[in-house]
């Protein structure tokens, strides 16, 4: 028994407490990939919403049933690709560190993430079909932020800051209602990329 062993014990305790209660394999690269996907999706959505308009005229979001379905399609594809990226990069990170991927910690994080996320998603789709297109971007940002704050108790604590920023952006986007897509691109695109790069430096894969 010596100092080195005590230090090691304390380190082991800390590590085990965090590893047993949090999903720590969340990869920063999944943030970067989600961000890139979001920017492409925002661009595609922009093209859909503001299609066939005069360059010099006022820009009005005109939505036909066709473009509504297209918008929904873009959203669904983007979400699937982003989740796919998160699963891919996090699985790779977990494998590298020989940790189980689908553990009780992962399940806890995913359930806590999904409850606010799915509620927000369904609410947004309902509002979209009632014609409240302008609320889609602000509400997805707010609910995504809430989902992140909730999930942050079960994964890396930095996720909480990202969540709070997304909520703030969502509220701003509600006030500046016509600029929803821009706020959406900043939140889901740029913030994700910045967060991903910071996390990748802090906790390399």
């Amino acid at each position: 028994m010596n100092k080195q062993k005590y230090l090691e014990d304390l380190h082991d305790i800390k590590e085990m407490m965090s590893r047993s209660s949090r999903f720590i394999s969340l990869s920063g690269l999944s943030g970067v990939s989600a961000g890139i996907i979001a920017i492409i999706a925002a661009f595609a959505a922009y093209k859909t919403v503001y299609a066939h308009q005069d360059y010099l005229g006022y820009r009005v979001a005109v939505l036909t049933t066709e473009s509504l379905i297209r918008l929904l399609g873009i959203g669904v594809v983007a979400v699937i690709l982003a989740i796919g990226g998160a699963i891919f990069f996090s699985t790779r990170k977990a494998r590298k560190k020989s940790q189980p991927v689908w553990s009780i910690q992962t399940k806890r994080m995913v359930t806590n993430l999904l409850i606010p996320l799915v509620s927000g998603g369904l609410l947004t789709v309902l509002l979209l079909f009632k014609g409240y297109v302008g609320l889609v971007a602000p509400l997805t940002l707010v609910f995504y932020g809430l989902a992140l704050v909730q999930a942050s108790h079960f994964t890396l604590k930095e996720v909480k800051s990202l969540g709070i920023l997304q909520i703030g952006l969502g509220l701003l986007a509600t006030y500046f209602i016509g600029y929803g897509l821009l706020f959406w691109a900043v939140g889901f695109g740029i913030l994700h990329i910045i967060y991903g790069v910071v996390m990748e430096i802090k906790y390399p894969s």
Binding site: K3, D9, D12, M16, M17, S20, S103
Partner: protein
């Protein structure tokens, strides 16, 4: 230095038992499979350490059936939690 030694808990001298207790401190309860995944040791080895912690009344064992499969849940007792906290305090005091 000797004054701290009485707070040292023999039960936590072993790395596996220290690991089990750390994991149970951070969770309401964990089942056998979860503890095994965390510590990455064999069933037999883990079972014997769990038994010794149970004998000291630091953890409780709760057996139940999930979809007709046996599922054993382990939980730290208040006694175990306070012993663990004392042990950490003793470690920290020694290092300061």
């Amino acid at each position: 230095m000797k004054t701290f030694l009485h707070n040292f808990d023999k039960a936590f001298e072993n790395k596996v038992r220290l690991g089990i207790m750390s994991a149970l401190m951070a969770n309401e309860y964990l089942d056998f499979k979860a503890v095994k995944e965390l510590l990455q040791i064999t069933d037999g080895n883990l079972a014997s350490h769990l038994k010794s912690l149970e004998a000291k009344k630091y953890i409780t064992v709760h057996k139940e059936f999930l979809d007709r499969k046996p599922n054993t849940k382990y939980k730290a007792t208040p006694q175990g939690r306070s012993a663990f906290e004392k042990h950490i305090k003793a470690l920290e005091d020694l290092l300061n």
